[in-house]
Symmetry: C2
Subunit: 582 residues, 2 copies
């Protein structure tokens, strides 16, 4: 671009570096996030690792020139990036705020309050106490003030990540269960209190030595104002905007402008912009005038574009190898888990839950996720904590999030919702079968299944044919589901054949089967067969989806359609569990 080169303007080279750096951060964060998901790990783990790869930990070691050009410490490129990151985190907190549903918290009443109060107090006291009594254990810089440091550690231990928890509950199919709603409500209160508490720590820090009272006063007045008057006003203004502006552009504009201005307001007060954006989200999200589609567009763009870039930028901040201190990591991890799980367990037991449910609630609430990382990042920038403690907090946030789901699953014996796509790969789809008869298509399917499972094709075919002899497995709508249970099968195997003309499977509606799904399951897991049958019928039973699958050009497209149809759920660790009922 033709901007005149000046040390304090974005030159053409600077703009190119800015665009490349964003492209690399976004691209790598998305790829590594997807890889993390594939191995059932939190997506944010992959996103942060992308930053670690591009940051001082790796890229700067092996190719310092490139690192210096793409991610300079200061100057125009660094400023433009910083502006984008800050915007990203403020928007991210807006989306998190939109998820808080104050009215559902009131409905949960006493139990939610009990869990959230003990879930905050208990870890706070432990964290604060430890930081106060043994600050060096947490790598505190002796020069810094003790009180804000101890307050921060207390709050860091007591924070919860609403979006992670929502995602875990959805995955376990218990979002709408009693325990699920209780955990969600408690987490909302927890989030609100935790962030306000941190805002106050920031306030004390901001006015170091000076008079901290005005900042705290402004913060409290602003928060109460937004959550009362602001909430009322948002509920009034939204229908007006919807009635008198283009849709959904008008509403989207209103939501983001509110977040930007509230964010600027809190930044001006002396706490961080994210608080204002978060509160704006809470105030607006509570209105039932905000339509799902608007929410969704904001949500998708922010969680899929701004969030990955922001989390990758976390990885850029420090050298994760250099700043890794095993003792600090261990201390933070133990205190965080014991404090949170213990505190919530007590609250849940007092509220009358069973022990098993109480433990599950504790582990559910213990997931720290993205929120903790944002908090740690702010504290590090404010020089409240060292790089070592920051790294420990990031690791703790990831570890607790990874622990939460499996523990709840174990305690409540809930099973993860599975998708048909999880059972399929391209070689399990036969788009152009040679077979023209029932027996030959079963043979073709069985021999493909044999390649995949390693079992002899004859055994598979025999078992399947035996089942067909009892009654053919044709279903209405051109489907067929030949199936068998096999003793020595390690895990379920699905093979799908698409037949252009269809093959007669004696279906009740007389239609020949054009989508033939062979379902093989281990004998020891009788419920898996039912689960697979249910998935196949639910998805292939929809005429529009079936038509698209019948027209898919190749296996990749076939999988893409399934992926899209089944992708109603949100990401892992970013605040995106909004559309849970979808």
């Amino acid at each position: 671009m033709g901007l005149i080169a000046a040390s304090d303007a974005l030159t053409s080279t600077g703009l190119a570096a800015f665009l490349v750096s964003l492209g690399l951060l976004l691209g790598l964060a998305r790829i590594m996030g997807e890889l993390a998901r594939r191995y059932r790990q939190p997506q944010v783990l992959g996103e942060i690792l992308a930053g670690v790869v591009l940051g001082p930990t790796l890229l700067a070691q092996f190719w310092p020139q490139a690192h210096l050009m793409l991610f300079p410490e200061q100057g125009p490129v660094a400023i433009a990036q910083e502006g984008f990151f800050q915007l990203g985190v403020a928007f991210l907190l807006l989306v998190a705020g939109l998820e808080v549903d104050l009215s559902s918290v009131w409905r949960q009443g006493k139990a939610a309050m009990s869990v959230s109060v003990t879930g905050i107090l208990f870890p706070f006291v432990i964290g604060f106490g430890l930081a106060w009594l043994a600050p060096s254990l947490l790598g505190k810089d002796p020069a810094g003030e003790l009180l804000p440091f101890a307050l921060f550690v207390g709050i860091a231990m007591s924070i919860t990540a609403l979006p992670v928890i929502a995602k875990i509950l959805i995955d376990l199919n218990m979002f709408k269960s009693d325990t699920g709603m209780l955990v969600m409500s408690a987490a909302m209160v927890n989030d609100l209190v935790g962030w306000l508490g941190f805002a106050l720590v920031m306030a004390t820090l901001h006015d170091q030595g000076g008079n901290v009272a005005p900042t705290i006063l402004y913060t409290v007045v602003f928060a109460i104002g937004i959550l009362t008057v602001g909430r009322w006003a948002a509920n009034r203004i939204l229908p007006f905007v919807q009635a008198h502006s283009q849709w959904p552009g008008g509403v989207m504009g209103f939501v983001l402008v509110t977040a930007l201005l509230c964010g600027a307001m809190t930044e001006w007060i002396g706490i961080h912009a994210i608080f204002g954006a978060f509160l704006a989200g809470v105030a607006i999200g509570d209105s039932n005038h905000l339509r799902e589609r608007t929410r969704d567009t904001i949500h998708q763009f922010i969680t899929n574009i701004f969030a990955p870039v922001f989390f990758a930028s976390i990885g850029l901040r420090v050298n994760f190898v250099e700043a890794f201190d095993p003792l600090i990591v261990l201390v933070v991890l133990v205190v965080a888990i014991v404090g949170k799980v213990g505190g919530c367990y007590l609250g849940a037991v007092w509220a009358g839950l069973s022990k098993r449910e109480s433990w599950a609630t504790g582990f559910g609430m213990s997931a720290r996720g993205a929120m903790e990382i944002i908090l740690g990042q702010l504290a590090r920038q404010a020089q409240l904590i060292t790089d070592e403690l920051f790294v420990a907090i990031v690791i703790m946030a990831l570890a607790t999030s990874m622990l939460s789901g499996p523990m709840m699953q174990k305690l409540l014996r809930q099973r993860q919702r599975r998708r048909l796509k999880d059972f399929l790969a391209e070689r399990q789809i036969i788009l152009h079968p040679e077979a023209r008869t029932l027996e030959s298509i079963l043979r073709e399917l069985s021999s493909r299944a044999a390649e995949i499972t390693g079992l002899p094709a004859g055994r598979i075919l025999d078992a399947v044919l035996q089942r067909e002899q009892i009654m053919h497995t044709g279903l209405p709508g051109g489907l067929a589901v030949p199936h068998a249970r096999l003793d020595d099968l390690a895990k379920p195997c699905v093979v799908i054949a698409r037949h252009p003309d269809g093959i007669d499977f004696d279906s009740p509606d007389g239609q020949p089967a054009r989508l033939i799904s062979l379902l093989l399951t281990p004998s020891q897991q009788p419920e898996t067969q039912l689960e697979l049958l249910d998935l196949v019928v639910r998805i292939f039973g929809q005429p529009t989806i079936r038509d698209r699958l019948l027209n898919a050009a190749n296996g990749t497209e076939f999988l893409a359609i399934l992926n899209q149809v089944e992708s109603s759920g949100p990401n892992d660790l970013t605040p995106n569990a909004n559309h849970v009922e979808a």
Copy 2:
């Protein structure tokens, strides 16, 4: 935020200013854009005016301190803003590129080629000739080089704004007509050639005095590479991404990363980032693997958030009052209209269109819209043109866009698509009528209509009752449409009553009418009555919409629902005419 204050870092005050400035730009741009639309003017007009209000033209005159704080000329805040604006315009061109459908251009064949060739050559020659022979007429800085200046003026005259044209065609309900498809195809070719031409001008400029050949070579190689290999690769990669990543996040990430990296590539070549982003859009948009929903999310966020901020930033650049030179404005306007309309007219006549259609094609192609403004902005930043010519180009872009629709409408005698909401205001909705009988509800509706039209209530009621006597106006699904034509009515008047229990209007399905729409139309416009009847039946006839309307809490919400239901169309001048079939 706790960043250490440094002259080259974004301080807490700086971040607050950055957020406030974005909030103000976005908020005011959206409000003034909506106002412009209300008066049937291009939305981008309002958006630029928002920048004029906040920029040197107004705010700086009346409150210089605020202007200096929010929009400093240099320093961290200016850099962060510049980064966001540049990102916005690159993304905007990405969306514009996504709209270009190369395959439909091939289908249009000869006629489209003929119109686009003359539509480029004719205005280019006139513009280039004038700039070459009488540069002072266009306010050229005598110190600058003549050739790039004349080339720029030629290209500026020959550019077309695809999105504006699409929008106008949709409004005239002729997007899918022969003329419509011809204009669209010609505009696509025009866009592609125009932008490439401008890229070459930028290239010559970049290497002032040096060797320009490599830059031009890189540009051409890059463009051809993206449009061939890149297009092929995108079509291959998209299904893969869709099959193996979350949906729609994975695809969105892929699209934006590609745009960012291609943008950086062209910026590095020495032309602007927007070319790369535009070409990336063309390559990706052509793939039929890109799903509508993904496209829509990207589209909505970019056109509703990034675009308004960017266009407002145009208003920030110069003092529009000071740099207004009536002579230059006049010259630019005349040359732009004569060149483009004339050139396209000739091409269309040669291709065998009727004279009337050819003129319509000419005026259709003449709309310059947002694209011309972006181009002018780049030329101004490159110091290729003066502020005076820049202002003239902005005015020309707006004026041609405002002229285009009405002229096509007049020439082709097409009528604008109207929406039910255009006939309604809150006082025309009676949510809690007192009436319990057919006659009393008609009286209540008539007296409200009397207040609005100024006609005596008795006359209205008589006419409506007379119509009801022939046959009652109940329709299936709980609707009724009492109506009358009145001699001295200036314009159509609609009043809608919602009745909780319903009133018997003798409907075919025996249901009482719960949504009763009184339709009064001028006797001279017999077709308006049919149009209104059609609108009412089409909208209220849908059970889901009817249910939402029956449950609306107040008039504003009632209107909001109608607005949302009818808002399938895109904005005015920003590149957003993608979802035309919606």
